[in-house]
Symmetry: C2
Subunit: 226 residues, 2 copies
DNA sequence: GATTGTGAAAGCGTTCACAGCC
DNA sequence: GGCTGTGAACGCTTTCACAATC
């Protein structure tokens, strides 16, 4: 049996990258072994959750001792498919697309930018670090040449569906979508959405609530104090 | 009773901004009324979920008819605290910070950038659109002057905690964190984290799974086909 | 003695299904 | 007749608690 044997719950999958990062930082700091409680503290979660999460990958811990950091990192990287790079292609060379292309963190974490394309002829040819913006017509060629399977949609909202269609036609099977629209793609394609305005709205909702609560019971603090 | 009366589940809160956007787009397109099923289709979710989500805000629908789009937008905006702008301050004027500051979408959606600060003297004074990068020492002054309650951490990971500490000291009560670290803040401060590398790792996990599954059962397709 | 791995319990979130209302 | 609002059922996630193991 291999990595493909088990089915890992979505909620756990979403936490694996965080564990991996914490483990890597620990290893760099010279930590050889970690207990579930120590890892839980680093991740800001409950120790039982850490143990259950790790148990989906396999039984890599030692009772009474904990987990070998280096070995766990190896298993995490294998499970997450990080034994090789995953080149990405970015569609849209506006503010965000440029920032993403220029952001070294992607390459560093195993996601080199294979290319960035735009429909706007004025943008084609400009350089972002070492990467040159190419016309969108070259998308399929880039995908084929660099074996890209992840595409990033960084276009304005009205252009996002077309960008996604082009990515799918080019043979991509995962999309990270920064545009504020629901993308329609074949069921074989995974999509994750990051909407910055949505994040701010969630924050301001809770701000608003606190403000409303403070107004509604202005003397509650005093009551509790006495 | 007002908006502050009910307690809305987190999962619902996270969907409200999406509904609001879809409703606004519908209104712009001339749609006056929507049923829960129509809104569900737009949002890519189940109609029962839409009805339950909306029911937490109040009983704004009409049985046999649906929801009045304009009235629902009004209620959403009130509930989300969008009856006024929420100025934000950005800490870190690197790639991402600059992109965020230059991204018009924030202002447009009610989150004008009140300021962007950086510790690097070389960056101070540079202009991003109409906004000038200021030294981090001016953070508290900006927060006070513009009544900012939301801060954005767009620094490299090692500087993120210090940035958060400064934001908290300056009086901020919500933080949107783009750095790949867990921020420690007082319990009165809300934090939301956006980690782009994590999103890519989640996508590549599922990519990896598909690839492994395809290898494990290379003839499964044929078997199903026959 | 310490810590894992995991059944069982508790808590949330989603979906169903239908009474209630227009 | 059509659609909402919601109790009840279901399923997923988290947490507890402890036997198994080093």
């Amino acid at each position: 049996m291999g990595a493909s044997g088990r089915r890992i719950p979505e909620a756990t999958v979403a936490r694996l990258p965080d564990y991996l990062r914490l483990l890597t930082e620990s290893l760099d700091a010279g930590v050889v072994n970690l207990s579930s409680e120590e890892l839980a503290d680093l991740a800001g979660v409950n120790a039982a959750k850490v143990r259950k999460d790790l148990s989906y990958l396999g039984t890599y811990g030692v009772r009474g001792v904990g987990y070998d950091v280096e070995y766990l990192i190896y298993q995490f990287r294998r499970e997450l498919g990080l034994d090789h790079d995953w080149p990405v292609v970015i569609v849209g060379a506006g503010n965000l697309g440029q920032a993403l292309a220029g952001y070294g963190g992607f390459r560093e974490r195993g996601y080199p930018v294979a290319g960035i394309v735009d429909v706007d002829p004025a943008k084609v040819g400009t350089k972002i670090g070492e990467i040159e913006v190419r016309p969108v017509t070259e998308l399929a060629a880039i995908v084929r040449r660099c074996h890209v399977s992840i595409g990033v949609v960084a276009t304005p909202a009205p252009a996002a569906q077309l960008a996604a269609d082009r990515l799918v036609a080019a043979g991509i099977s995962s999309i990270l979508n920064f545009a504020a629209v629901l993308l329609t793609v074949p069921s074989t394609v995974s999509v994750r959405k990051v909407d910055l305005a949505v994040e701010l709205q969630i924050l301001s909702y809770y701000e608003q609530r606190r403000a409303a609560a403070a107004l509604a019971t202005p003397r509650a603090q005093l009551a509790h104090g006495g």
